[in-house]
Every structure is written in structure tokens, then in C-alpha cells.
């Protein structure tokens, strides 16, 4: 594969001086004029949007998920007749968190997705099957990126929790690439493995995953048992695509000419590698850009040149800050559930969430003070209707469980808000 010397294997310092700084300056000037949130933040931090962009980036505060909500109204109004699409998540306050997009966003994001997918060494003869349980909109967008790379055959394959029945036509499609989310892959894996053992003459070569972390042990098992290469697509609702693995499988390439990572309190690992919570600045996002936005990932960044020839930094996601988790690729936030439990009760209080894997589903256990036991049915009802959770519950992909414990459980020591015992994480 030939890499673009202007970007993919460019000298990073040159890229910073000639592309990134311009991108940041243009972003800062634009957002200062269009967003009351940024105007306030820039003024508060004493940042002139026309100053040196690297100094400005250093001075600007980190942006939280709560801050993100403050962008929505301005972004929506600013998009006006250019509004094209919206991405939503469960939201950190119970209301869906929204990212509005223009057609320019769609095209810019497609361009980046194409760069990322090119790293997966796809061929025009590949047959790509997107396997999921619900809304196919993100896969439509992936399909468009693959189409632009010349891939002809892309099929969205919607499945249900009865995997034996749902997956029975997968063998007929005989994909060369399976594209899905790790939790669904984990849930359906025994069925998939059995089918591939029974059908030796198949073409599957690669699995691409996104939306969640894939446990290293599970990854190795899939690679060995199915004889496939695994690639990761990395991104977020608020940032869109950020990067992807290459055939060297030594981290996720992120494209700093488009999205700039900032590490919070970085820890130096070696000469080229640092570790810390990452915050992203999106330079090509048209309607709703973010500056130093905390998506909740703790990463290790290696800036050394990759064996594949790319010079772009590579990251490995090594953890999550504990405010959120993912179910079948859908992001949920601790605050969503906390607010849901307590808003109807007109109270405030404690909550711990424990995630675990059962045979064919995830289990979501809510640990609450025993004084709320009399309100169990009200709590369950309100949890049931949390945005996007209802679908997973109805389809049997997720099971809810509420447990009541003495109040001392919450006050006696510092406990984590979320404990994730799921094996595929």
C-alpha cells in the first residue's frame, strides 16, 4: 500500500507547524464567534483566539460531558439549514447527549474513516458483513467509507438474541470481513465458532470491532480459533472516528492533522511513550467541534514511527474513567442512572452499578440503599425507560437487577461508582 507522504508518513513536527497549528487557529477563531460556551471559556482563561494556537490550547480548560451539553443549542442554531444528521447517546443527565452534524461533517468524517479503513488493508473484492442488533445508521456510514475505497459488497445483518436462528444465514453470506461490537461478538461467539467449525470452506479473514474495548485474552482466542486478523476502529459519538489499527497491530493510529490528543497529567513511560487520560480537540468538525474534550479513556500514546510506515502517533486504550460504560456499543453514563433513580423519588442518594456477563446477556445490577426497597417497582420502571436501554431489555440482551444494601455500604469507605466484571471488556 502507498501511504500519503503529506499526512500518513509526514514528519510530525512539519505536520504540526504547517497543518495542525493552522487547523487549531482556524478552529479557535470560529468557535469563539459562534459558541457562547467557548466565548465564555476563552475569556475566562484569558485566551485570545488569535494567539499562538499551542499556547491557547495549553491555557484552555478541559471540557467535560456536562460542558458538551452547553454546545448543543448553539450548534443546532448555527447549523440551521445545513443540519443533516444527529448522533445521540444516553446522556449524562438522563437527556440524550446530541451531536449535530452538517453535510460537511458527513463528508469530512467519511474522508477520515477512509484513511482509517485503508489501514485495515481492505480489498475491493472483500465481502463485509456488519453484524448488530439495532440501529444500522453508523454502519451505513461505514459502508459509505468502504464504498469510497472501492469495496462493492457490504451487507448489514441485523440479528436478535436467539443467535442460533439469527446467525444461520451468515455462512451463506460467507463474509471475508465481519464488522461488529465486542459485546455482541462475545455473546454470539460460541454460535459463530460452531458454525465455522462445521463449515471449513469459508472466507473469513478479518474481524473489525468498534465501540468498546476487546479483552486481550478473548482477542487472542478469536484469532487462534477462527484464524482471523483483528482490527480496531476507535472513535466516539462526540468526536466521530479518531483512528484505527494497521496491519502491524501495535496500537491505534490517530490522525493528529484532524484530531489533536492532549494527555492530562501524563506519565512518561519511555522516550516516545506517555500515558494518561486523553482529551480530544476536533479540528475538522463543522457544526459541533470540541476542544480538549474528555471522552473518558485512559491511553498510552507512542509517537515512534510504526512498522507499517505511518508516522502518526499510536494509542492503546488501557482503561476508562469510571463515569460510563458501554452496552453493545451504546454508551451509558453513571449520572444517567443516578438521576433516573432519584429524580422520580425527589431525593438524592447513592448508587453503585455492577456489570457482569451471564450466558447470553449482560447483567446490570443496581446497588441501592435499603431505605429505597419499598420503591423497588418505581425504580425498576424508571430504569426500564432509560434511553436506548429499553430495546436491549426487550430483546433480552440485558437483564436488570436491583439490590438493596445497608447505607453503610456507601458511607463506610470509598466505593467505585461502576464495577465492570464482564469478561470481554
Amino acid at each position: 500500500m502507498i501511504l500519503d507522504p503529506g499526512f500518513e508518513c509526514a514528519d510530525q513536527q512539519k505536520l504540526l507547524d504547517e497543518v495542525i497549528k493552522q487547523g487549531l487557529s482556524s478552529l479557535f477563531i470560529r468557535v469563539y464567534d459562534h459558541f457562547s460556551y467557548y466565548h465564555w471559556r476563552f475569556d475566562e482563561a484569558g485566551v485570545d483566539p488569535c494567539m499562538d494556537p499551542m499556547d491557547a490550547l495549553e491555557l484552555l480548560p478541559l471540557m467535560t460531558k456536562h460542558d458538551y451539553g452547553m454546545l448543543e443549542r448553539d450548534a443546532f442554531i448555527c447549523a440551521n439549514k445545513h443540519l443533516y444528521h444527529a448522533e445521540t447517546t444516553s446522556g449524562s443527565t438522563g437527556r440524550p447527549k446530541r451531536r449535530f452534524q452538517s453535510l460537511t461533517d458527513e463528508l469530512n468524517e467519511l474522508k477520515l474513516a477512509m484513511r482509517v479503513f485503508a489501514g485495515f488493508n481492505v480489498s475491493k473484492d472483500d465481502v463485509i458483513v456488519f453484524m448488530d442488533v439495532g440501529n444500522p445508521s453508523i454502519y451505513i456510514w461505514f459502508a459509505k467509507a468502504f464504498e469510497n475505497l472501492g469495496v462493492k459488497n457490504t451487507i448489514y445483518y441485523g440479528i436478535q438474541s436467539d443467535f442460533d436462528r439469527s446467525l444461520n444465514k451468515l455462512m451463506s453470506l460467507d463474509p471475508t470481513i465481519l464488522f461488529t461490537v465486542p459485546s455482541l461478538l462475545a455473546r454470539s461467539y460460541e454460535t459463530i465458532l460452531r458454525m465455522y467449525k462445521e463449515n471449513k470452506d469459508t472466507s473469513l479473514q478479518k474481524i473489525i470491532y468498534f465501540g468498546e474495548k476487546l479483552d486481550d485474552r478473548f482477542r487472542k482466542r478469536i484469532e487462534e480459533e477462527l484464524g482471523v486478523k483483528i482490527f480496531s476502529h476507535y472513535g466516539g459519538t462526540e468526536t466521530s472516528t479518531l483512528g484505527g489499527e494497521c496491519s502491524a497491530h501495535d496500537g491505534i493510529h490517530v490522525y493528529t492533522d484532524v484530531n489533536m490528543p492532549t494527555l492530562i497529567d501524563p506519565k512518561v513511560i519511555n522516550e516516545t511513550t506517555q500515558e494518561g487520560e486523553v482529551a480530544w480537540t476536533t479540528m475538522q468538525m463543522d457544526v459541533q467541534p470540541v476542544i480538549k474534550y474528555r471522552i473518558g479513556d485512559v491511553v498510552r500514546i507512542d509517537r515512534a514511527k510504526c512498522r507499517c510506515g505511518r508516522t502518526s502517533p499510536r494509542i492503546k486504550v488501557i482503561g476508562r474513567t469510571d463515569e460510563g460504560f458501554s452496552l453493545y456499543g451504546e454508551k451509558f453514563y453513571y449520572d444517567t442512572f443516578l438521576n433516573t433513580v432519584y429524580s422520580n423519588l425527589n431525593e438524592t442518594g447513592f448508587l453503585q452499578i455492577i456489570l457482569s456477563s451471564e450466558q447470553n446477556h449482560d447483567k446490570l445490577s443496581f446497588i441501592l440503599p435499603e431505605k429505597l426497597k419499598s420503591k423497588e417497582s418505581e425504580i425498576l420502571e424508571s430504569l426500564y425507560y432509560v434511553n436506548e436501554l429499553e430495546f436491549f431489555l426487550e430483546e433480552g440482551f440485558v437483564q436488570l437487577d436491583v439490590q438493596f444494601v445497608p447505607g453503610s455500604h456507601f458511607t463506610g469507605r470509598k466505593i467505585p461508582c461502576i464495577i465492570d466484571h464482564r469478561v470481554y471488556q
Binding site: 448543543e72 440551521n80 443540519l83 445521540t88 439495532g134 454502519y139 451505513i140 459488497n153 451463506s172 453470506l173
Partner: protein, 308 residues
């Protein structure tokens, strides 16, 4: 019905600037005739508005229904609150119920890059109601290639959401769904809207117009396996409103009258729609670009689909 119409008009006037501009003062509705004296809402009214003037509350925008095709002359996307989205799901359920297909029937949706987001929403709805559904992206495939992919999935129902596939010879799929193909009824044996021996004549295909799901040539008539009984359902949809009605093999379009109040403009037979279950962006006496004849009950017959 009057109470529902009054409620939606009052709500729209109180909460949505475009209606205050249009009506000038709060309408007093004491009869259906009063309602029918309200001015039509037209696309041109939207052209002069900013986005926050056409909805009740920016903070309630939860979803955007993609247009049927990437290009649309309506200046805004279809904006929905979570309530509106739920209502759209209910309308979809109503439409599917009219077909009589079995619960759990499997679907394959054929789409292309122009229509894929709208078709994706249909897939989303089908999966929600537990119809196993796959979607194939049609590119420069031949008909035979697409048929091969479809045959691998062996669906009970096929939804054609692309204008790239116009031949279905020998596909042997009993239920065919299309979108805005009012002029084409592939049901075999064919049925007229008035039953056997009825007087209605299917209008000829007209080129252009919204959706562009129709074949580019009026001569490109699809054929099916001769011995198969085919049921062809056509979904009538508008980008700015969503799906509205479904044509059964009998030939008329059925719409849920709990969700729509349907009229036609007597001067030009243009279909005029009022949405009864939208809170973010209700359409009141919205003059579409499509012509129809109203039939008894909650039925109409489309005679032309214009450009949106």
C-alpha cells in the same frame, strides 16, 4: 376530531413561531369548517424561517429522520422529540399491520448510498418490532448479483429502497415493499382499488419527482415467477413528515387516522396533511406536492407524486 385539531392548532400557535407568522392571531376553531379555513402551510413558508422558528423547543430535539433521498427541496431535516419518534414507530407498526404478514417474517432491504439513511430507519423499525432484517447496499451490481445475495438470505419480504434495481424476475419472494411507487402495482394476481372489475386505472409512471425510487424508464416493468402469488405494498412517505400510509394490493393507501388528518385542496387535488401526534414540529394543513383522491374511510388514492 375537532378537539384534536383544536389542540394541535392551539399548541402550535403558542409554541412554534412559524405558525404565529402564518396565522397572525390565535385561531378560534369551533368547527371543522373553521379548521379548513386556516391557511395552508407550504414549503415556501419554511424557506424564510430559521431552524428554531419551525420547532417548539430546541432542547427537545432528540432525533433527525433522514430524508428519503439525500437531496430534498425541503429546507430542514425532519426533527423529532422522543415522543415524536415513538409516534413514528407506532405509525410504522400500523402500516406493517395492514399487510397481514406474519410476526417474525424476515426482511431484506435493498438500498443505495442516496437512500440508505432513510432505509436504515426502516431497518431500525423492523428490528424493533422483531422482524429479522438485513440490508444490502446496491452499487454497480448487476441484477443477477443482487438476486444472488438476496437468495442467500431467503427473506419472506423484500423492500426495494433503491432505484438501481428495477427487474425482479424469478426472485420468488412473496411480499414486495416499495416506497413512493404509486404508479406501479406488482401484485399478482393484480387487484384494482375497487375490487374485481373496478374502474380505477393505474396512472402511468411519471419521471422525476420526489423519492426517485421509480424506474427511469416507464417500460421497465418488473416480472415475477409466473406461478408465484406476489403481494406488493407501497409505503407513501414524505421526507419532512416520515411514513404516512401504505398501499395494500387492493390499490388504495391506508393511513392511521389517529395520527393524520387528511384533506385535498379542491382546486388542484393536492394532498394536504395535518399531523395529530407531533409535539416538536407538527404540520398543520401542510400542502404536499402530491395529488390524491380521497376515498371512504381512512383511505386515499395517489395520482401523482411531485418533487419535495
Amino acid at each position: 376530531m375537532l378537539d384534536k385539531l383544536k389542540a394541535i392548532v392551539d399548541y402550535a400557535y403558542d409554541n412554534i413561531p412559524i405558525y404565529r407568522k402564518l396565522y397572525q392571531r390565535k385561531p378560534e376553531l369551533n368547527s371543522i369548517a373553521d379548521f379548513k379555513s386556516l391557511p395552508y402551510l407550504r414549503i415556501s413558508d419554511f424557506m424564510t424561517c430559521n431552524i428554531e422558528e419551525v420547532i417548539s423547543n430546541v432542547d427537545e430535539v432528540a432525533t433527525i429522520l433522514p430524508p428519503i433521498e439525500n437531496k430534498t427541496i425541503f429546507p430542514f431535516p425532519r426533527l423529532e422529540s422522543t415522543y415524536d419518534r415513538d409516534m413514528r414507530y407506532e405509525i410504522f407498526y400500523y402500516l406493517i399491520e395492514q399487510t397481514g404478514i406474519k410476526k417474525g417474517s424476515s426482511f431484506v432491504v435493498l438500498t443505495d448510498s442516496s437512500h440508505s439513511y432513510f432505509c436504515g430507519e426502516i431497518v431500525n423499525n423492523l428490528l424493533f418490532y422483531k422482524y429479522p432484517t438485513s440490508m444490502i447496499f446496491v452499487r454497480d451490481h448487476t441484477v443477477d448479483e443482487i438476486q444472488e445475495w438476496v437468495s442467500k438470505l431467503k427473506p419472506d419480504c423484500l423492500l426495494i429502497g433503491t432505484d438501481k434495481i428495477i427487474e425482479f424476475s424469478h426472485w420468488e419472494i412473496p411480499y414486495i415493499f416499495t416506497i413512493n411507487q404509486y404508479g406501479k402495482n406488482l401484485s399478482n394476481p393484480p387487484l384494482s382499488p375497487f375490487g374485481k372489475g373496478g374502474k380505477f386505472n393505474t396512472p402511468p409512471l411519471e419521471k422525476g419527482g420526489r423519492g426517485d425510487f421509480r424506474p427511469s424508464s416507464a417500460n421497465s416493468v418488473s416480472t415475477f415467477g409466473k406461478s408465484e402469488i406476489i403481494k406488493h405494498f407501497d409505503i407513501y412517505a414524505i421526507s419532512e413528515i416520515g411514513w404516512v400510509a401504505i398501499r395494500t394490493p387492493e390499490g388504495h393507501y391506508l393511513y392511521p387516522d389517529d395520527y393524520f388528518y387528511v384533506e385535498t385542496d379542491p382546486t388542484d387535488d393536492i394532498l394536504v396533511l395535518t399531523t395529530l401526534a407531533n409535539d416538536l414540529q407538527p404540520f398543520i394543513r401542510y400542502k404536499t406536492s402530491d395529488r390524491a383522491k380521497l376515498l371512504n374511510g381512512n383511505r386515499f388514492q395517489i395520482t401523482y407524486i411531485g418533487e419535495h
